[in-house]
């Protein structure tokens, strides 16, 4: 089984995938990174062996990323199984069959975003491209700001689940060495060193 962890954004999620990529179980919390990650994984896993651990590496929350990645990395190292980084915005983009603007919470009214065929960026609600409906986990106030700015949020019922989307991204994702996971988060404080 493959365990997928995403604690990078305004909601947290875990999923358990079978070797063929089908979803054996998944859980999405309505709040941020602090939830019963270890308990959730233990209950979902039911003692079944893990062959890989996949973690969302952002862009996203400074603390959230550290919670999910340290847990996933510890598990992978302990079980001696590979760790696979998954870009947060790629997972959200993969939830839709149609082209979408993937978004993720960046705090203080800003969102990370990824439009089809473009580079990921950081913007306020009013600066986001509006050619595509948006998919992603935002705080309620941030989502309201997007809608007020004219961004359409894609209807949840038309989207794949987190686990199904992660399985798609995993098809092309590669494992990395334990010490080479890279986290992406906001760093607007530039040093003068």
């Amino acid at each position: 089984m493959i365990l997928v962890i995403d604690t990078s954004s305004a909601r947290s999620a875990i999923a358990l995938l079978r070797p063929d990529g089908s979803v054996a179980g998944e859980q999405v919390s309505q709040s941020g990174p602090v939830f019963g990650l270890a308990d959730g994984v233990r209950v979902m896993r039911e003692g079944r062996p893990l062959s890989r651990v996949a973690v969302a590496t952002g862009p996203g929350s400074f603390t959230g990323l550290r919670v999910g990645v340290s847990f996933g990395l510890g598990l992978a190292m302990g079980l001696k199984v590979p760790i696979v980084p998954l870009p947060t915005l790629a997972i959200q983009a993969a939830r839709s069959e149609e082209p979408v603007l993937a978004v993720s919470e960046a705090g203080r009214g800003r969102v990370y975003h990824l439009a089809p065929g473009r580079e990921a960026g950081l913007a306020e609600a009013g600066e986001l491209p509006q050619e595509w409906p948006a998919v992603g986990w935002l705080r309620p106030a941030t989502q309201e700001a997007l809608i007020a700015a004219g961004v359409r949020m894609q209807d949840e019922s038309r989207l794949r689940t987190f686990g199904a989307a992660a399985a798609l991204v995993l098809k092309t994702a590669r494992e990395v060495a334990y010490d080479s996971l890279r986290l992406e988060y906001m760093q607007s404080f530039a040093s003068k060193f």
Partner: protein, 140 residues
């Protein structure tokens, strides 16, 4: 970085410096950033002690030189950051300052070591004995 000097104040005692800090603290809201600059012993931590009281916190304020960040819960959370020992950009990135600013206000000692817009800068000068000159500037 363009700055506008808002005012200059000379204080005659640590209590006066702290009172100025309390004024600054009392009008802080989440997302506000105050940078403090000035040599060791010029009154920065004393000023922060006042700021914390101004935010309604009764936490004990100490220089976070070795902890790098201290958090004072109050009407608005105040994160107290000290960059004296931070020597590299990577160490700065590991402090997660953006997320702290998302959850409250922030004051940074040795704040002239970061390049950042939309902050208030307070520069401290030691005039001898307990006298200090504080210059308040807005960065734009």
């Amino acid at each position: 970085m363009a700055t506008t000097t808002l005012r200059e104040v000379t204080t005659a005692s640590a209590a006066e410096t702290e009172a100025l800090g309390e004024q600054t603290g009392s009008r802080l809201k989440a997302g506000d950033l105050v940078l403090l600059a000035g040599p060791l012993g010029s009154g920065k931590t004393t000023f922060v002690r006042g700021m914390a009281r101004g935010t309604g916190s009764d936490a004990q304020v100490q220089s976070p030189t070795f902890q790098l960040v201290r958090i004072y819960p109050g009407r608005v959370q105040l994160a107290h950051v000290d960059l004296y020992r931070v020597k590299a950009a990577g160490e700065l990135a590991d402090l997660g300052l953006d997320e702290l600013l998302d959850g409250g206000a922030m004051v940074i000692e040795w704040g002239d070591r970061v390049d950042l817009r939309r902050a208030e800068l307070v520069t401290f000068e030691n005039l001898g004995e307990d006298r200090r000159r504080l210059r308040f500037e807005a960065e734009a």
